[in-house]
Amino acid sequence: MAEDFPVISAESDAWEAVTQLAEQRLPGLVVTDPAGKPLSILPTAQVVRILVPSYVQDDPSLAGVLSESMADRVADKLRGKKVQAFIPDDAPELAVVNDDDTIVEVAAVMARLRCPLAAVMRGEEMIGVITASRLLQLALTPPR
């Protein structure tokens, strides 16, 4: 059930990572440490949240106060930063499943962690990723 999926290192440039998310319309990226071991998931929703200034998150009425030119530059904060900088200190538990897990086991992990994708492991090695949409595809496919 695992499929190839873009994986990015925590030390990678954040701008490039977000560009990848945007161009490929991905639900998130698997973030690995320099050794390639899965470290965390960076959901696209989290990146969108990062674009919102903290003061707007605290007071949503300020969102409209910013001018068009200010709003257009909202992604500037991503420049010159590493992906690691955007993984929150209280990062959600990484969704990890085994390659022999059933659809229900995978769904349970995703539901519990509210994560749109999970890293698929065979032993200590990550062999791919399963997304929520791929999981649904498998669930809806009649058994042979």
């Binding site: 605290d58 009425s61 106060v65 910013l66 001018s67």
Partner: protein, 430 residues
């Protein structure tokens, strides 16, 4: 034995509240539960006595104002005023700080301090972000201003509400006695801002132009709601001021105002109840029961006698002692439990002083000391803690010592101004 139980429960609960080992609501309610369980006080004492029980006037005044403020917050009016002011300052950091400080202080006189800083902090971060300057000096200045401004009226700070209820003081009494000194303090505070935060006011003309591009009108979420809130708030304040005419207590006025606002605004419970801090109200309730146990067992009376002996019946000495001790202790521990504990003691003290002007001065010194003392440290007032949290989330953390360095200076200044005021007004010129 009742005295021993009341004392022990109170001290342990107080330590837990001050150290925040457990949530203060839990500590206060547990303490109240224990004095009730051991029969130190009964239900009549706890629920029906103004001297020993829950002060329902305080609870319901707070409840009413929390609901009103909860609805008012949704209008965006405060944000409009703050951004409008920043644009009037033409991007000058010092002028912006002064204007935001004054707005914060005035708002704090009518809204609770925590709500005021919750409203001003995001706008401040926005303006500083646009100017490309460090927001920390601005946030510290504003929270100091909120604690100063909140002292001006009966509803500006919870300690004032407790004092008013215990002493039988009215909204107008606070306007006559507290507002003038707070106005003086604000002038002094504004004058020291350039020195206190020197080095924080460098101007970048290009960034200053960005502030002018902000559109404050977009902050107003609901104009009709704003008009309704403004009307209700005006009527509520007018009712506070005209209490001597209609004799409707402030708690009733606040509740009626909240009820009318909820009705005419069509607010849903999840909106208008979102601003109610139930934990704070329960904390107050527990606190009043514990302090009531000390009143009933005579502990407060004994302490008052000790205080009278210590001051030799000298009212001026008592006033100054209360001012300085209140400022010191309020900077270290929460000023709400401090004032809740001191109020019955000051009541007993005031009743032993023949001159009514001198007797009333004790209350004003308690209010000034407790309100201004909250500025002394980063944990001296709830508003301080809230701002530190907001600053940390914004990536510009304020350390305990960074705040306390400024707060301690401001506390010394405000108390140094308050002391001669009390002496001049209530002793020399009375």
């Amino acid at each position: 034995m009742s005295t021993g139980i009341a004392n022990t429960v109170f001290v342990v609960a107080y330590v837990l509240i001050a150290t925040e080992k457990i949530p203060k609501m839990v500590a206060a309610l547990a303490g109240a539960g224990l004095v009730l369980a051991f029969g130190v006080v009964g239900s009549a004492d706890a629920f029906y006595s103004h001297d020993t029980g829950i002060d329902w006037d305080v609870i319901f005044l707070l409840l009413g104002m929390m609901i009103i403020v909860g609805v008012l917050r949704r209008t965006g009016a405060f944000e409009y005023i703050a951004i409008w002011a920043a644009k009037r300052a033409k991007g000058s950091p010092l002028r912006i700080m002064i204007l935001l400080v004054l707005i914060t202080a005035v708002a704090s006189a009518f809204l609770d301090n925590v709500t005021t800083v919750l409203l001003i902090a995001p706008v401040t971060l926005l303006v500083c972000d646009r100017l490309g300057i460090n927001p920390i000096p601005f946030l510290i200045a504003e929270v100091l201003a909120s604690n100063i401004g909140g002292a001006a009226t009966l509803i500006g700070d919870p300690p004032n509400i407790i004092i008013a209820s215990r002493a039988g003081l009215t909204f107008n009494d606070f306007l006559i006695h507290m507002t003038p000194i707070v106005a003086i303090e604000l002038v002094v505070f504004t004058l020291v801002l350039p020195w206190l935060f020197r080095g924080s006011f460098a101007i970048d003309p290009e960034r200053a132009a960005e502030v002018m591009e902000l559109n404050e009108r977009e902050a107003i979420q609901d104009t009709r709601l704003l008009v309704k809130c403004g009307a209700v708030l005006f009527v509520v304040l007018a009712a506070f001021v005209t209490h001597s005419v209609h004799h409707v207590d402030p708690s009733i006025v606040a509740l009626l105002g909240a009820g009318v606002l909820v009705l005419i605004s069509g607010s849903q419970p999840e909106h208008f109840l979102a601003g109610v801090e139930w934990e704070t109200l329960l904390f107050f309730a527990g606190l009043f029961v514990m302090v009531g146990a000390l009143v009933k067992t005579g502990v407060i009376g004994d302490l008052a006698e000790l205080a009278t002996d210590a001051t030799g019946g000298n009212a001026l000495l008592a006033v100054m002692l209360i001012l300085f001790v209140s400022a010191l202790l309020s900077g270290i521990i929460d000023n709400i439990p401090y004032v809740a504990t001191m109020s019955p003691l000051v009541l007993d003290l005031s009743q032993s002083i023949a001159n009514p002007v001198h007797a009333e001065a004790l209350w004003w010194s308690l209010a000034l000391g407790a309100d201004f003392g909250g500025n002394m440290t980063a944990v001296g007032a709830s508003a301080n803690v809230v701002v530190l949290g907001i600053a940390a989330r914004a990536g510009t953390p304020i350390s305990f010592w960074e705040f306390t360095k400024k707060g301690a200076i401001v506390t010394v200044i405000t108390i140094a101004v308050a002391a001669p005021y009390l002496w001049l007004r209530y002793f020399l010129l009375a």
